[in-house]
């Protein structure tokens, strides 16, 4: 969790200028910064900070504590410190490594699909065409669909092997319908989750694209640059920061994909669609083994920290480049 606080550029980019740069405009405040007069105002931060601190520390400390103890709700009298045994059990669980692989596969695929799809769509929607405003609303629509609805509609009405839309279309084309969730369970989950996140990437990237200087593009055109060169030399570099932000935010959310799996495959068949989040849920809330589930939770936290460490580094480098320009 601490990885991010070492880097600083985000708020300054956020239009939230860092305090130092405001000295000139707000000399008055800075002068009084340490004085009693502003103390009550600073206290306004206390509830937010205290609550977030508790929210971060207390449950996390409990997870760490449980992970070193024997604790199963089914046999509540057997408790006690057992060192790393829970971690050992977890590592030996035949579902553990598949769940890590599935988590990586799910995050990687959805990131790839949504970022590439979102970028292409954003470039397309940056062109003027008839009804653009309405088409744009249609594209971002899926982002506002609650995960359980998205999952069930896809599972029942689109991917159903007999009555689903895809089966209907395939029969029309003379092909054998596919039982998506049974034959390609992970692919199906990836499709459903991507459907929800393409609109997000699209919306962010289109917004970023619209801040691109039109003159720059026109100048390049006058110089004889074709659309493809303009895309790679002007559009893509301009979008770099927004893409980084999209990757970072999506990764955080995708690590916790749960409802889509819960309502479609329940992690199956076998462990084919069990990600780390679902595994911890099933050990903790279905088998009631608090100790092992907590060890799994710690793995998730470590994984998230590794990811956010690299992403924040990437973002920081990006921002630095943008600032120096």
């Amino acid at each position: 969790m601490s990885s991010i606080s070492n880097t600083s550029p985000m708020p300054s980019e956020a239009g939230a200028s860092p305090p130092s740069s405001q000295k000139s405009r707000r000399g008055k405040h800075i002068k009084h910064a340490g004085s009693e007069r502003f103390l009550p105002i600073r206290l306004l931060q206390t509830p937010a900070v205290a609550l977030l601190f508790l929210w971060m520390i207390v449950p996390l400390a409990m997870t760490v504590y449980f992970s070193f103890n024997r604790y199963n709700l089914m046999s509540p009298d057997q408790t006690g410190f057992i060192g790393l045994e829970n971690y050992q059990f977890l590592l030996e669980d035949p579902a553990f490594w598949p769940s890590i692989a599935n988590t990586a596969l799910l995050i990687g695929s959805v990131l790839g699909i949504s970022v590439i799809g979102g970028t292409l769509l954003a470039v397309l929607f940056d062109q003027p065409f008839r009804g653009r405003g309405i088409a744009r609303l249609l594209v971002i629509g899926p982002f506002f669909v609650m995960p359980t609805v998205a999952a069930l509609i896809w599972k029942n009405m689109i991917m159903h092997p007999v009555y689903g839309m895809l089966a209907f279309a395939m029969r029309h084309l003379g092909m054998e319908p596919i039982d998506w969730l049974a034959e390609y369970p992970m692919l199906s989950v990836i499709i459903i989750v991507s459907w929800q996140w393409i609109p997000f990437a699209f919306l962010i990237l289109l917004t970023a694209l619209q801040s691109l200087d039109v003159d720059q593009k026109e100048a390049a055109q006058l110089d004889g640059a074709g659309p493809i060169r303009i895309f790679f030399y002007i559009v893509l570099p301009h979008l770099k920061r927004a893409i980084t932000v999209v990757i970072m935010i999506e990764t955080i959310f995708l690590l916790s994909v749960f409802a889509e799996i819960f309502t479609t495959t329940a992690g199956g068949p076998g462990t084919e669609t069990t990600n780390l989040t679902y595994l911890v849920y099933s050990i903790g809330l279905q088998q009631f083994d608090i100790g092992i589930a907590s060890a799994g939770g710690i793995f998730a936290v470590v994984l998230a920290n590794i990811v956010s460490f690299f992403l924040v580094r990437m973002l920081a480098k990006n921002l630095k480049g943008a600032n120096e320009k």
Partner: protein
């Protein structure tokens, strides 16, 4: 890429095709909701629309109780987090110290904690305090998970308030409270409104904690829809009608606020 004024026809055609393909599942929910169960299995657009299915959903499934839970939880959590976040953002934006920036980043970093890392203790805490399957419990959780976003968004909006207005007010002798009540809140109101919108959307659609912490009494719409997964999911018309009612209001809000959402969802990094 093309002339700024005109694009070739294929650009529009391609864009519209993409839009229709992506929107199709939602369109299909809307169509199927007006069919009978029998018609729902046929991929036809020609049928007599009926409201019977909606009637059935309302009559048989206690639907309104779930709607009520969703509304109480998302509005309650939004109000609570704004109540805590706005004063904090105000003091951070206008009375910054050397630590303010670090504090903001730390708040952002709390969002990086995967929910599953604290699932077990939160579940046990809720269970032992009687907050399992309680509207209050879920509201508190949503307040906490949305708090960093609320602080960040309010902070960026406060930062956009022209500083000259404040200086003028201060010369006229306004104190900090008057300043906040009569100057800042009105000026930043549109921004705070879109903050509220984003928080409502996020809480309405949240499906990790709601699925894990509620079952009957406090279950919001996300949980109710999940109950269609087996075996009631076979009733496609009912599933569609219930889903349509659950997603339509929030999609309308999202469409209205799409520009402002970008800022909130990216913690102000893209606007």
């Amino acid at each position: 890429m093309n002339d700024a004024k005109k694009s070739p026809l294929w650009v529009g055609l391609l864009a519209w095709t993409c839009a229709i393909v992506l929107f199709f599942p939602i369109f299909w929910i809307a169509v199927t909701a007006f069919k009978t169960e029998h018609q729902a299995y046929m991929p036809s657009l020609i049928f007599m629309p009926t409201l019977d299915t909606f009637r059935e959903v309302f009559e048989r499934s206690n639907y309104l109780a779930f709607v009520k839970n969703s509304m109480i939880v998302s509005l309650g959590a939004t109000l609570l987090s704004l109540l805590i976040a706005v004063p904090a953002a105000y003091s951070m934006a206008f009375f910054p110290t050397g630590r303010t920036q670090k504090l903001l980043l730390w708040m952002l970093s709390t969002k990086m904690m995967p929910a599953v890392g604290v699932l077990v203790p939160i579940y046990l805490l809720a269970k032992n305090s009687g907050m399992l399957d309680s509207v209050t419990g879920l509201t508190l959780i949503y307040t906490l998970i949305n708090l960093p976003i609320a602080v960040w968004m309010a902070f960026t909006y406060f930062n956009d308030v022209p500083k000259e207005i404040l200086e003028a007010a201060r010369i006229d002798g306004a104190n900090a409270w008057q300043e906040m009540l009569y100057l800042l809140l009105p000026t930043a109101m549109p921004g705070l409104a879109s903050t509220a919108l984003l928080l409502i959307i996020l809480s309405w659609n949240e499906a990790f904690w709601s699925l894990n912490l509620t079952s009957v009494d406090a279950a919001p719409l996300t949980v109710f829809i999940a109950s269609y997964s087996n075996p009631e999911g076979l009733f496609w018309a009912k599933l569609s009608a219930a889903s349509l009612l659950a997603i339509a209001p929030i999609m309308a809000l999202g469409w209205l606020a799409q520009k402002q959402l970008v800022r909130g969802l990216t913690f102000g990094a893209v606007k």
